[in-house]
């Protein structure tokens, strides 16, 4: 292998402190609401207060005349723009795909749907005016829960019979035949409630039309600025060079901030162009509760067939998926449930049928986990049922059914979008480590002794796989600046994942540069035009490898130039410590800053600061004058994978339940996690454990209920309770590392891993703790009153 092809190991794998932190810690972050061009106007929205209604009248007269009001827009005021917003990912399974209008005109489908936009001098005045808008509704019965959606004659959309948006199916083998002959079958009815990503920064959009350049500048708290840019071009009929979208610092996303398009994301730019002034809309928390997308609502009928040894013979599930009032993401969430159901287990016969139903609730799009937590919850509940029937420990049943390490690449046999093929993994190793940290035998002894003291301890476990890196690709533009730094611009945006650090580690290794000389910037469509965004645990895999690809190309350009300067073969050059030297002759070298200065001397005597030997450098300057090289080094890199790659993990928990009040305390939580090569262990830890705590909130605290009229019952942080520090358990995190063979870095996604199996784990642990009461947990999240209710129904007295 020549030095050129050598992959230097240096920065990758190190717990490098984040480059992003300094300004964020000093209050120097720059989130959308921190940006305020002169003469900015502020928008507020009038939103539907009815879940299912016809609008009979909209009166904006008083609002239009209110103090400080500049513009009031209804759906009819925006002409052609008021067409259904784009559908992401059409699929033959979709029967009746409905997406939202920017502004509802004669029909509303959920409480919170935008009806009127008010723009005024400041937000206070905009809200004052919004309060003056009068909308008359002819209310209809609301379709709220899934059973009602499936059986009621009431329609969410007038032209969608039975409220069915689509039916998704997939199958492996012949499960029906297996079930007919199976020794044992267990059946469960299982459900998960709605929740949402709930980033701490709400959504927000600022737009400014530059009449001189004829360019629309947009700042959007989005996970996908480049995709928003291309969408805006289409929706606003502008050409590519006329729209620039920046996602500045973004205060968390978790899926809630990638929607292509939320109505506000097209209305705010439209209003800015119409008014010729900057217009800003910052979502308030109430708006976030009623108009940002949500997820998780799903109800399953599930069956498992197995033999006396606990070997799983077949799995079947039919389920209904709550997509809310619209289906902007097509089949994404239920399809994920179907493809992740079998997880780490070898199951040869499987079928799943998902019916996607409309309800009068905010639309659904992927929230961290995106259908996978549902799958793991169902599968692991079935595993527990098997264990209980056979008198085995659940982990024993799991162990007997794991896909062996030598079976990779492993074809699951599912083909909804593309064949599901696990690229690599070592599930036994993960389980082995989890069991060491969990010590189930030791726990059983402790459980028995605590129960004698009247304490109820329980143990639960869950295994998962995580498809990551949905395509098609990501891009990176790299260049050497005249200061000798190497700048990598990527299309993905960071919402706290630390791309500027982990991508810099990748680039520093590929370039032989010191990490201090590497700058990674994301989230600006003006810098990289081609790319998509941050979702599906894809940024490191796709953008990270695009960075590596661009770095390699840039390095080749530098090598070609320096080989002429130093009169050597490019293959003999060594890139290290931000210098390029000749292999075997380290004294003959030039720094990256020196290269920049030599290549781009501007025709006048400016030499950038560098630490090259003056005499040697003077000689190089003479040579450089004779080289007809381009003055800039600039390379693009793109990376795509034909299929997703599969991370995996095992979670386990020990909980204590107080049956008198239904409280659950997580005493210990074990995670063993495989995301392939770890680029930055501290960032990976942050992603995984942040996901875990979100998952615990999802299991025990968070839910978004609606009453029979479709009125949301959680519209504040008093009602929607997220985890606080007091509830964080003792955590043990361990890793397995199986490289992905499908990308040069060997990485897999990690963003969603922490959250996926948590509800399954907690359900099993609570059920185990309460085993004297012989209850079965079939519904998550698990609230204290539900626990006491289950116990009360069991008719076993609490002692």
């Amino acid at each position: 292998m020549s030095p050129k092809d050598q992959i230097e190991t240096g920065w990758v794998g190190r717990a490098t402190p984040r480059k992003e932190d300094d300004r964020l810690l000093k209050g120097g972050g720059r989130y959308v609401d921190d940006i305020e061009p002169a003469r900015t106007l502020h928008a507020a929205f009038v939103r539907s207060m009815a879940a299912n209604a016809r609008i009979t009248a909209i009166d904006v007269e008083a609002a239009s005349r209110a103090s400080g009001v500049r513009l009031v827009l209804t759906g009819t005021d925006i002409g052609d723009l008021n067409a259904p917003l784009p559908l992401l990912g059409g699929h033959p399974s979709l029967i009746a795909a409905k997406t939202q209008l920017p502004l509802a005109v004669d029909r509303v489908h959920y409480v919170g749907e935008a009806v009127v936009m008010v723009i005024a001098d400041d937000r206070y005045l905009a809200e004052d005016a919004a309060a003056l808008v009068r909308i008359d509704y002819d209310s209809l019965e609301a379709v709220v829960d899934l059973e009602q959606a499936a059986t009621s004659a009431t329609r969410v959309h007038d032209d969608v019979a039975d409220n069915v948006a689509g039916v998704v199916r997939d199958r492996v083998g012949d499960p029906d035949a297996v079930f007919e002959l199976a020794e044992h079958v267990e059946r469960l009815h299982l459900s998960l409630e709605r929740t949402g990503g709930m980033p701490m920064e709400t959504r927000g959009v600022l737009a400014d039309w530059d009449p001189r350049e004829q360019v629309l500048h947009v700042w959007d708290s989005t996970q996908a600025p480049v995709a928003i840019k291309h969408g805006l071009c289409r929706l606003l009929k502008l050409s590519s060079e006329q729209v620039e979208v920046v996602a500045p610092d973004v205060g968390g996303g978790f899926g809630a901030k990638i929607m292509l398009f939320y109505p506000e994301e097209v209305l705010v730019p439209h209003a800015a162009m119409r008014l010729g002034r900057p217009v800003k809309w910052i979502e308030d928390r109430w708006e976030h509760f009623v108009s940002a997308n949500q997820e998780r609502g799903q109800t399953h009928e599930a069956e498992i067939a197995f033999d006396d040894d606990g070997k799983i013979l077949a799995v079947r599930t039919t389920f209904v998926h709550d997509t809310g009032a619209y289906i902007p993401y097509g089949i994404a969430v239920p399809a994920n449930t179907i493809t992740h159901m079998l997880g780490q287990y070898r199951v040869e016969h499987y079928s799943a049928v998902a019916t996607i139903l409309y309800t009068n609730k905010p639309p659904v799009s992927p929230y961290r986990g995106a259908g996978r937590p549902h799958a793991v919850f169902v599968m692991e509940r079935l595993i527990c049922a098997v264990a209980q029937r056979l008198g085995l420990e659940p982990h024993e049943v799991r162990w007997r059914n794991l896909i062996p390490a030598d079976a990779f690449p492993y074809d699951v046999g599912l083909t909804i979008d593309a064949p599901v093929r696990y690229d690599s993994g070592n599930y036994q190793e993960g389980m082995r480590k989890a069991l060491i940290h969990l010590d189930p035998d030791g726990f059983r002894a402790e459980q028995a002794s605590k129960r004698a003291e009247g304490k109820y301890l329980g143990m639960g476990m869950g295994c998962y796989i995580e498809s990551s890196g949905p395509g098609p690709y990501e891009g990176c533009a790299a260049r050497l600046t005249d200061a000798g730094t190497v700048v990598f611009d990527v299309a993905t945006a960071s919402q706290g994942q630390g791309h500027s650090t982990s991508f810099a580690q990748i680039a520093a290794d590929a370039m032989g540069a010191d990490i201090a000389d590497v700058v990674v910037r994301g989230g600006d469509s003006g810098r990289v035009e081609f790319g998509i965004g941050t979702f599906g645990s894809r940024s490191l895999l796709l953008a990270g490898n695009a960075v590596a690809t661009a770095a390699k190309a840039l390095r080749d350009q530098l090598a070609a130039y320096v080989s002429e300067l130093l009169e050597c073969n490019p293959d003999d050059l060594v890139f290290a410590d931000s210098r390029v030297s000749v292999a075997g002759t380290p004294s003959v070298s030039v720094s990256l800053a020196g290269i920049a200065a030599l290549a781009n001397a501007y025709g006048y005597p400016v030499v950038k600061p560098h630490d090259d030997d003056p005499q040697q450098f003077a000689a190089l300057q003479v040579r450089a004058g004779a080289i007809s090289a381009p003055p800039v080094f600039h390379a693009d890199g793109y990376f795509g994978v034909g299929q997703q790659v599969f991370g995996s993990g095992v979670h386990a928990a020990i909980v204590e339940v107080d049956p008198a009040i239904g409280s659950v305390e997580v005493l210990k939580y074990v995670l063993v996690h495989d995301c392939g090569v770890v680029v930055n262990p501290v960032i990976v830890e942050g992603q995984v454990l942040g996901g875990l705590i979100q998952g615990l909130g999802g299991a025990l605290l968070e839910r978004l209920p609606f009453d029979e009229q479709g009125q949301p019952q959680a519209t504040s942080f008093m009602d929607f309770r997220m985890m606080t520090v007091e509830s964080v358990p003792e955590i043990v995190l361990d890793h397995v590392e199986t490289r992905s063979p499908l990308n040069p870095l060997g990485v897999k996604g990690t963003g969603e891993a922490g959250v996926i199996p948590v509800s399954a784990v907690i359900a099993e642990a609570v059920e185990d703790a309460l085993s004297p009461f012989d209850i079965t947990i079939t519904h998550m999240p698990l609230m204290p009153h539900e626990i006491t209710q289950l116990i009360a129904r069991s008719r076993v007295a609490v002692t």
Partner: protein
């Protein structure tokens, strides 16, 4: 005494005296951010729960979204912009950096201000700091790095054992 919709406010913010006429209903969070341009104070819920807007008023950590600007007349206010001296991170800020105590950074300023106020109290300890932290929601970190930062700031730098979370592999 007469009632007004506009009120004159004179206060000290990060050591500088400022004077403005504000609408009585202007929230302190909006005053700091939009009148004074101190955008490091963030707004996450505007009902006092998330803690992102927490600043120090007359020595106590409070929610800036639950006070009106009119109420800080004569008060002394400290915001996140005051913590680093001459560009150098405070020991608390440094601990957050060292221990990966932040991800998106949105909740961070409020947390730092609460903890700064707590650290000034007599005998701050882990329990008090964690209880103070209980008044904040961080959606990214799971609090794990923040808890380590608490330990670092109490124990002094570089003495924190990370092995419990990095595992035994």
């Amino acid at each position: 005494m007469s009632s007004e919709t506009a009120v004159s406010v004179r206060c000290t913010v990060n050591g500088e005296v400022v004077q403005r006429i504000v609408e009585a209903r202007m929230l302190l969070s909006d005053f700091l951010r939009h009148e004074l341009g101190l955008t490091g104070t963030h707004v996450g819920c505007e009902h006092g729960v998330c803690g992102a807007c927490t600043v120090i008023v007359d020595g106590s950590s409070i929610r800036a979204c639950l006070m009106f600007a009119a109420q800080v007349d004569d008060a002394e206010i400290e915001t996140i912009e005051s913590l680093a001296k001459d560009g150098a991170l405070s020991p608390l800020q440094q601990a957050f950096h060292d221990q990966h105590g932040l991800q998106c950074g949105f909740c961070t300023p409020g947390i730092l201000m609460s903890m700064t106020a707590c650290l000034r109290e007599p005998a701050p300890d882990r329990e008090k700091l964690l209880e103070t932290l209980g008044g904040h929601i961080c959606r990214c970190t799971g609090y794990v790095g923040i808890k380590r930062a608490v330990d670092q700031v109490l124990d002094g730098a570089d003495s924190v054992d990370r092995s419990t979370v990095e595992g035994a592999s």
